[in-house]
Subunit: 109 residues, 2 copies
C-alpha cells in the first residue's frame, strides 16, 4: 500500500512551534513539516545539509558568515552542513524540510 | 552565498512536459520540478525511491501491483525503488520530486 499524505492534514498535527513532525521517508532521507513562529536558537548540523521550503508564510534564516536568508511562500533555500543558523518567523509559518534521517532538528548542540 | 529559489520562477523554465529541471541539490539528493501533462511511459528506478509532491494541479500515478495513486495539490506520495510506475495528468500540473542525484528521471529502461 502506497500512502498519500496531505500537507493540509499534516498542518493540523502541528501543535507547537519548532517541533517538526515526519511527513514521509524516502531513501535515507525524511521530509518534515514544522510550524515556525518567533525565534529559534542558533545551532548547526555537522554532517547534513538542510533544505527549507516555505509552504505558508514567510521566514528569515540568520546564517553565520552569510547574509540573512529571507524566504517567502514557495521559496526554497539549503543551509549547508556545518553552517550555524537560526531561523525566525515574524508570523506563524509552515515549513517543509528535507534532510537526512540522521539529522537532529534541534542541532548538534 | 546561499541562493534562494522561487518555485514560481522555476515554473517559467518548464517548456515541455516530462522534462524535469533541477531546483536544488541537498546532500546526495536533488529536488527537481516538472510539468506533467498527458501520459508518461511505464518505467522504474531499481535503487531509488522517488517522492512526488503536487505543487499545482492533480496527477495520477499508476503503479504495478498497487492501486492507482491520485494526488491533488499539496499531496505527497513515495514510489518505492524497483516498483514500476507510469504517471499521467489530465491537466497540466506542476510536480516537485525529491530523489537521489543518481536517479535517471526517464527510468532504468
Amino acid at each position: 500500500m502506497i500512502r498519500t499524505i496531505s500537507l493540509k492534514n499534516k498542518i493540523n498535527e502541528l501543535t507547537k512551534p519548532w517541533s517538526p513532525i515526519e511527513v514521509s521517508r524516502v531513501n535515507d532521507q525524511v521530509a518534515r513539516l514544522a510550524l515556525f513562529d518567533g525565534e529559534y536558537r542558533w545551532h548547526k548540523h555537522a554532517n547534513e545539509d538542510e533544505l527549507f521550503y516555505v509552504y505558508r508564510g514567510s521566514i528569515v534564516i540568520r546564517v553565520k558568515g552569510h547574509p540573512n536568508i529571507a524566504l517567502h511562500e514557495g521559496e526554497i533555500a539549503v543551509v549547508p552542513k556545518g553552517v550555524e543558523h537560526s531561523p525566525k518567523s515574524p508570523e506563524p509559518s509552515i515549513v517543509l524540510m528535507f534532510e537526512p534521517q540522521t539529522l537532529n532538528s534541534q542541532g548538534d548542540y
